[in-house]
Amino acid sequence: MIEQQTCTMVEHHPMDVLLRQDRIPHIWCSGCGLGTSLTAFISAVKDSGIPLDKMSVVSGIGCTGRVAGYLNLDSFHTTHGRALPFAVGLHLGNPCLKVIVFSGDGDLIAIGGNHFIHSARRNMDMTVICVNNFNYGMTGGQGAPTTPIGAKSTTTPYGNFEFPFSIPYLAAASGATYVARWTSLDTRRLKKSMQEAILKRGFSVVEVISPCPTLYGRFNRLGTGLDMLKTYQENTVIKHGADPASVAIGKDGKIIVGKFVDIERPTFLDMMKQGLGAKFKIPCLERDVDKTEIPREDE
């Protein structure tokens, strides 16, 4: 047997300061994209300059929902689909908090769909990270509103025949001010996008295409997590500013990523101030969040 060197073995990772170390290693499968999304998120949070004590993360139920349990921030693991209204309450209860919703495609778009579109409509000042693995992972791989046509899942054993949602289209049409999509392979751009979304005023949505090798990948013979990432590498097309109506993941398997929407629109509290502020004094309407420069990187 050939002798191998070893890297320096250590016990802790620099990002551990933002993780609940007594809960690592996490429960996600080998090859799952959630760990990568969380890594990008933690980098984004650190570099955003927002005071960590003011950050609150709300998640729903599902594999992605477990993110809240691993973050060393005020984190709330709520019921299925209801992360957004909980986050709305948290935000309006104390507008000085920076509220981030981190949940999965089934949680946010299926059962939570109504809350998604209304929170976007109201332009609630919060960030939504939606990790899309095209199925319901935690419960065993059932079909979701994002499952592509023809794909197999435990509840679509003969191939899915329902049209799926295009999350960026839904978010943009509902009124989100920042809509982006990246795959979990493209970590640097993902981190930068998350950072922009966190610092953006208004309802910002970042969709992360993530491999689920244990379930979706296995049922559809997509290989290991690594194989799925290689597929993303071959099929990803970056189109900043693309029309959200045109970015659905089509039959050809091409995944269009990029920053699709980045507009300015008054937030819910801005509108409240406008509508009521002249007559009434409503405390804590100004968010005391520091804005930092987002580092410029070549695209």
Partner: protein, 104 residues
């Protein structure tokens, strides 16, 4: 120009005027063996082909990354960002003593 080069001198089509000031950063790789779940992302996507999977297992039965060629590491941190398990990170070589204290 994706060919990993282990030599010290970079190869350029035209020599930049400040070539003598250019320094390729060097990185040192740290691994938390027990957290690794053997997904292989770091090995596959390292642009300098620094890593390979070990023959040994960790206590969970996964093959973790070991350096094939640690000299080639340029601290790009792609392994750090891609790793889903918070099991690998790099530090620029000059700063390695500080970080080793944090790591342990």
């Amino acid at each position: 120009m994706g060919e990993p080069s282990t030599s010290e001198k970079p190869r350029f089509w035209r020599t930049p005027l400040d070539l003598d000031k250019l320094q390729m950063p060097k990185g040192k790789v740290f691994v938390i063996k027990e957290r690794c779940k053997g997904c292989g992302f770091c090995v596959e996507y390292c642009p300098r082909d620094v890593l390979e999977l070990s023959y040994e297992f960790n206590s969970k039965g996964y093959h973790y990354p070991v350096p094939k060629n640690e000299q080639a590491c340029v601290n790009c941190k792609l392994c750090d960002m891609l790793c889903p398990e918070f099991a690998i990170y790099t530090v620029e070589k000059e700063k390695e003593t500080e970080v080793e204290k944090v790591g342990n």
